[in-house]
Each structure stands twice: as structure tokens, then as C-alpha cells.
């Protein structure tokens, strides 16, 4: 009676195996004819755009199921590289080291974003700042009436108060582009902290870290004499909070605010230099009107997909998203404060999308 029943055991094992395989299949696209499922993960800045895209796209293309996740650019990069996600959203392109380690990754720009410098200095509007001055503020204790700041702002009454520089405590594409602006404009910053989604911030006693763009705006609001870099999608909140928006010095020496025109000028200025793989920084672009802190928002995709269905689903979805009449339309981009790609860059991105295969 208590004899072991091998067939039962084997049946159990088989059932468990099937279950495990089914679960393992969940991560990747389902091979059945019910359609393809894609996972998008990464940048918190791109997340709202994907959330606008996905319902509209899947309504027209019921064969595809797309899940979106807001995890952070670093996670987006890592999971696109290791295959956990098909679409990795990132504010930064993959580094040379990452490209060498995992060849065959595509960095495809979908839109352009920008960043403004906000400050809390009651009564002072239109403050002018440059990369080297910002690098100084983030490197050492500095007073608002520092000669370097005063020189850029003749006639402006600046208080003798210490500046509170606020940086992002979490990894962020905003930190990436801000520190690129400092690196490209200031040799000592380049040799020091350098740039990245998180850098080793210099020891400034007044400095504080804040989490997320919402944290940056609220820290600015709460602290008189503070300064911070904030994603352009938060411009309205920052202005409403009574914060100042700085004019930044571009490569040609002019002081500009981030507007649709100055952002486009910067993107146009760098078009000739954009390589085929589109891994280029748009920071500190030449041109009289170019705003110095703008960047491409990337989706990171493996060129070689495991099967033809997945490859086709990714290509179709990204082509739709890039199309100025569909996902790239102002009706989508305006809502998340992105600027459209110039037509020439759309073509480069489309070439990259077309190269996806299995």
C-alpha cells in the first residue's frame, strides 16, 4: 500500500516542469499565436510618454501587449542589456564601456528633453549663469555676491548669503546632463567629479540632496538662497512656486532660456555631428541661439531579437512612436514637455529601428 508510485512522482515532476517553463515564458514574449508581449522599463521621465502611447497603439494593434514600468534609466539600460525587458527607456545613451561589453545594442532617440536651472532668490529675475560659475557653486561654499556671479550680472543686487546647491540624491538623467554641461564647459569639473547619472559630489557643507524632480522643486521652495537643476517638464511648477529661471551661457557666449526655438537650435547645430548610432551628447552645442542643456531621450533595444514576431512587434511600435503623425505628434509630446526630433534625426532613428531583426 505504501509502495511508491513512480508514475505519480513523474507526473508531478512533469507538471512542475511545465509550470516552471510557463513562468519562465512570462518574462519574454509568449510564443503562442495570442500575440506578442513587450516589456518597457526605465526612465521615469519617459514613462508618462509610453503611458500615453501604449493604450492608443494597442487599441489599433490588438496583437501586441505592452507593459510599462517606471524604474529609472540605470535599470532600463541594465534590463535591456540582459534581456529582461525588450524596451529600455533611458535619458542617457550607453557608455563606450557598456557598448564594448554588450555589442549589438541600439540607442534610439525618440524625443528631445531639456533642463532649466532654478533658484530661490527673492526679487532677482533673469539671473545669468555660466557653466564654470555653476561648477564653482557645486564645488565649494560660495556666496551669491561672489565676484564671478556679479561679473555676469552687472547692476543686479545680490545678497551676501551662502548658496545652497541642491543635487539629486537618486540616479537621474537630469544629473547626467547637468554634469555634462559642467564637464564640457569647465575642465576642472571634467577632471574632478565628471559626469554620470550619479556623480561623486564635491564636499560642500551647504549642499543637500533631494529625491526626484518633485523633491528638487520643493527643496528650492523651502530654502531661500538655494539653486537646483530641474527637468523642463517641471518648469510650470517651478514658475508657479515663484522660483527664478536662470539664463545659461552657451558655447557662443550668449545667455539663453530653454524655449522651443533655443532647444531646436541646439539640436540642429549638432545634426552634422550625430553618428549613425546616435550616441551623442547635445550638451553645450555651438550656435548663437543654442540652449546648452538638452538631450535625446533614448529607447535601448537589442538589435538581434530571439524571434521574428518579437522583432516585428518592436519595429512596428517604435516606428509608430517615432512617426510625427502618430506617436511623435505634438499632441503626445506637448503633454510631457518634450520637443520633437528634427526630421533628419527621425530618419537616423528610423534606420536604426529598421535594422532590428531576429
Amino acid at each position: 500500500m505504501a509502495k511508491p508510485k513512480p508514475w505519480k512522482f513523474l507526473a508531478g515532476m512533469a507538471a512542475a516542469l511545465v509550470l516552471v517553463l510557463a513562468l519562465a515564458g512570462c518574462g519574454g514574449p509568449a510564443p503562442s499565436n495570442s500575440g506578442v508581449s513587450l516589456l518597457e522599463t526605465g526612465s521615469t521621465l519617459l514613462y508618462p510618454l509610453f503611458n500615453l502611447w501604449v493604450p492608443d497603439y494597442t487599441a489599433k494593434n490588438p496583437g501586441v501587449k505592452i507593459t510599462t514600468q517606471s524604474t529609472g534609466s540605470g535599470t532600463g539600460q541594465a534590463q535591456a542589456v540582459n534581456g529582461a525587458a525588450q524596451l529600455g527607456a533611458s535619458d542617457a545613451y550607453l557608455s563606450d564601456a557598456q557598448m564594448q561589453k554588450t555589442p549589438g545594442m541600439l540607442n534610439i532617440p525618440l524625443a528631445i528633453s531639456a533642463q532649466q536651472i532654478n533658484y530661490n532668490l527673492p526679487g532677482v529675475t533673469g539671473l545669468k549663469l555660466s557653466g564654470p560659475v555653476l561648477a564653482k557653486i557645486y564645488s565649494q561654499s560660495t556666496y551669491w555676491d561672489d565676484p564671478d556671479i556679479a561679473r555676469l550680472n552687472p547692476g543686479v543686487k545680490l545678497p551676501h548669503e551662502k548658496i545652497i546647491p541642491i543635487h539629486r540624491s537618486d540616479g537621474s538623467g537630469d544629473t547626467f546632463i547637468f554634469t555634462q554641461y559642467l564637464s564640457f564647459s569647465t575642465p576642472s569639473w571634467k577632471d574632478g567629479p565628471g559626469f554620470g547619472t550619479n556623480v561623486s559630489w564635491p564636499a560642500v557643507p551647504e549642499a543637500i540632496g533631494a529625491k526626484g524632480n518633485d523633491g528638487m522643486v520643493s527643496a528650492l521652495e523651502q530654502n531661500k538662497y538655494s539653486i537646483a537643476y530641474v527637468g523642463i517638464s517641471w518648469l510650470a511648477q517651478a514658475t508657479k512656486a515663484g522660483l527664478g529661471e536662470a539664463l545659461l551661457q552657451n558655447r557662443d557666449g550668449n545667455f539663453v532660456l530653454p524655449t522651443a526655438d533655443t532647444i531646436k537650435a541646439a539640436a540642429d547645430a549638432l545634426f552634422d555631428k550625430t553618428p549613425k548610432d546616435e550616441r551623442i551628447s547635445l550638451i553645450f552645442a555651438p550656435g548663437a541661439q543654442s540652449y546648452p542643456i538638452i538631450n535625446y531621450e533614448y529607447v535601448i533595444v537589442k538589435q538581434k531579437q530571439p524571434d521574428a514576431d518579437t522583432a516585428k512587434a518592436i519595429k512596428d511600435f517604435l516606428t509608430w512612436g517615432l512617426d510625427p503623425n502618430n506617436g511623435g505628434a505634438a499632441s503626445y509630446l506637448d503633454k510631457v514637455h518634450f520637443q520633437p526630433l528634427p526630421a533628419s534625426i527621425v530618419k537616423l532613428s528610423q534606420d536604426q529601428i529598421n535594422s532590428i531583426g531576429s
Binding site: 540605470g74 540616479g171 537621474s172
Partner: protein
């Protein structure tokens, strides 16, 4: 006839409960082991310097130059030291304890000895309710209420009154930092310490108290010479539980600490970074490191936090015994004060 059955059941219970008990130890060892393996490249790369180093830098992730140390690779310029975060964790927890312990004990004494039974029941339930509030709520309260409030007045008041003590001297900061993180943590651990202390105090034998009262001692003397000595071991255990919570707390601290990196706090108003909060905020960008060293370094930081928490918990019996030797009461465990 039923006997073998009972024996078998007895054995079954013994084996199952034994396995369950062992699973605690097993998971502890497993977690420690896995973290150690995961942190190993960082341990090799950073060496002992990890323990007292101040700079925390992933190095130049966008360069292609790598450095090799002890056979492990990392981007050029990478160096990891946990001193800033260790100091942040220990100092915020210390402030939390300094504030929370007297308050919690007062609450516990009030609930067991002073308050009328009905009020005691309601107030006790409220204290326990406080223990269940999610930490992000405390964090939001800290950053929106505590920090602005501290900046407006109390920090300047502290500088004026206690400024002669080095750590209390100015300059004051932005409100976020060591003091506000410590205060938020204190509010979070008060319910834990108060609730356990109340249970311990409530178990002090009634006849002991009555003997004391019969001798005509005051209520203060009753608390000071009978209740507290008797409940000491249980109270110490409560404090250690609170300390464990304070050291491991992540979200609330992340929101009010000011997230300092590369710089040690100058005074109690300075921004700090703690180990737990730092692991959360640096993990995402660490994943961009193609050598993986940034993630390994965070694993070593978690390992260090784990070990510190473990040591604190293992120290309880030692501390309790020490306290008992000094005060002359016998050691007890889990709030069971042993009668003389």
C-alpha cells in the same frame, strides 16, 4: 493502542517545529552568505579602506579606462568608503534613542501606573496604532513639517542655548539633516519602545508594588526603585528593537536627511546620508557600471549594515546581564522579569 500514534505525532511535532526553528538560522546564514559572495569583488577591490574611507565614487563610467586592483576591475577613479554613511546611520539612530527612550518610558509608566484603566486602554491602542503607520508618511511629515519648522526657530534657539557644546554650535542648515532625521526616527520608534515597555511594566508582580506602597513610598520611588529595576531587561530589549528599526529605516530618512555624500556632518544641523537610504538612492545609477563594481560596493554596504544590526542584537544579552549586575536584579528575557 493509541500510544504509538501519540508518539509518532509527538515526533512529528518535534521534527516540524525543529525544522521551523532551524529555518530562521538557515535563512540568516543564507542571506549573509549570498551577500558576502555578492560583495566579494568590492571587498577585494576596496580592502579595509572601505571601512573608514570618506569618498564614494563610481569613477568615470563614460570613459573606457579601467583600473585593476587585487584582480578586480572597476572604472578609473572608482573608490568606495562607507564612513559618511556609517556616521549618518549611527548618529541619526543615537539622536533618535536620546529623544525616544525617555519619552517612551514616560508613556509606558503613564499607561501602567498613572492613567485610569479606561484612558490607559485607549491611549495604549493609539500608541500601538502609531507603530503601524507606513514610514513614507513619516517621511513626508518630516520634510513638509519638521524640517521647515526646525529651520524657522528651534535650530537658532539650540545654537543660542547649547551652542557652547561643539556639536550644537552653528551654522544652522536647511532644516533637513541629522537633527530632523533623528527626530523623525524618534517618533517612529517611540511606539515600539513604549508598547513593549508597557507590557513589561504591567507584568511586575502586584504584591511587590503593594509591599512598596505599604511601606509608604511615593509613586516616583515606586517607579524608580521597584518598577524600572524589575523591568530593566525587558526595557533594554525594547530599546534595542527600536534601535534596530532606526538603523534600518530607509524611506523616511531618505526624505529628511539631505543625502550628504563625501562629507561628514559638522554639527547636528548638517545634512547626512545613511547606509540604508544610500543603498536605495544609488542603486539605479550603479547599474550603469559595466564592470558591476558599483553594485558590488552597494552590496558590501548592505552587508556592513546587516552585520552591524546583527551585532547590536547579539549585544542585548550581554548588555542586559551587565545592567542586571549593576542594579542587582536577575536577568530576564523578553520582558519576563524574574522574581527574586
Amino acid at each position: 493502542m493509541r500510544r504509538p500514534h501519540t508518539v509518532r505525532r509527538e515526533n512529528l511535532i518535534r521534527v516540524t517545529s525543529g525544522l521551523c526553528a532551524a529555518s530562521g538560522l538557515f535563512s540568516l546564514v543564507a542571506v549573509l552568505g549570498v551577500m558576502f559572495v555578492f560583495a566579494w569583488p568590492s571587498i577585494l577591490f576596496n580592502g579595509w579602506h572601505f571601512l573608514w574611507g570618506i569618498p564614494w565614487s563610481t569613477g568615470n563610467l563614460y570613459g573606457t579606462a579601467l583600473v585593476t586592483h587585487n584582480g578586480v576591475q572597476a572604472p578609473q577613479g572608482a573608490q568606495y568608503g562607507m564612513l559618511v554613511f556609517l556616521a549618518g546611520t549611527l548618529l541619526t539612530s543615537l539622536i533618535a534613542l536620546v529623544v525616544a527612550v525617555p519619552v517612551s518610558l514616560s508613556v509606558a509608566v503613564f499607561l501602567t501606573e498613572v492613567a485610569p484603566p479606561r484612558l490607559s486602554g485607549v491611549a495604549g491602542a493609539l500608541v500601538e496604532l502609531l507603530a503601524g503607520v507606513p514610514s513614507v508618511v513619516f517621511g513626508l511629515w518630516g520634510v513638509e513639517v519638521v524640517a521647515p519648522l526646525l529651520r524657522r526657530g528651534p535650530e537658532h534657539f539650540l545654537v543660542r542655548t547649547l551652542g557652547f557644546i561643539p556639536w550644537f554650535a552653528g551654522p544652522v542648515g536647511t532644516g533637513v539633516g541629522l537633527l530632523s532625521a533623528g527626530l523623525v526616527l524618534a517618533v517612529m520608534i517611540i511606539p515600539i519602545i513604549a508598547a513593549i515597555s508597557r507590557d513589561v511594566l504591567a507584568r511586575v508582580p502586584r504584591d511587590l508594588k503593594e509591599q512598596g506602597l505599604a511601606l509608604g513610598i511615593t509613586r516616583w520611588e515606586l517607579v524608580r526603585f521597584i518598577l524600572l529595576p524589575h523591568a530593566k531587561s525587558g526595557i533594554v530589549a525594547a530599546v534595542v528593537l527600536g534601535l534596530g528599526r532606526a538603523m534600518g529605516e530607509t524611506m523616511a530618512v531618505l526624505m529628511v536627511s539631505g543625502s550628504a555624500v563625501n562629507i561628514l556632518p559638522r554639527n547636528i544641523y548638517s545634512p547626512v546620508g545613511t547606509m540604508a537610504a544610500n543603498i536605495v538612492s544609488l542603486l539605479d545609477s550603479a547599474m550603469s557600471d559595466s564592470t558591476g563594481m558599483a553594485v558590488h560596493a552597494l552590496a558590501e554596504l548592505s552587508l556592513a549594515l546587516f552585520v552591524i544590526t546583527l551585532v547590536v542584537n547579539l549585544l542585548v544579552p550581554v548588555v542586559t546581564r551587565g545592567v542586571s549586575l549593576i542594579t542587582g536584579t536577575l536577568p530576564g528575557w523578553g520582558g519576563r522579569a524574574v522574581e527574586r
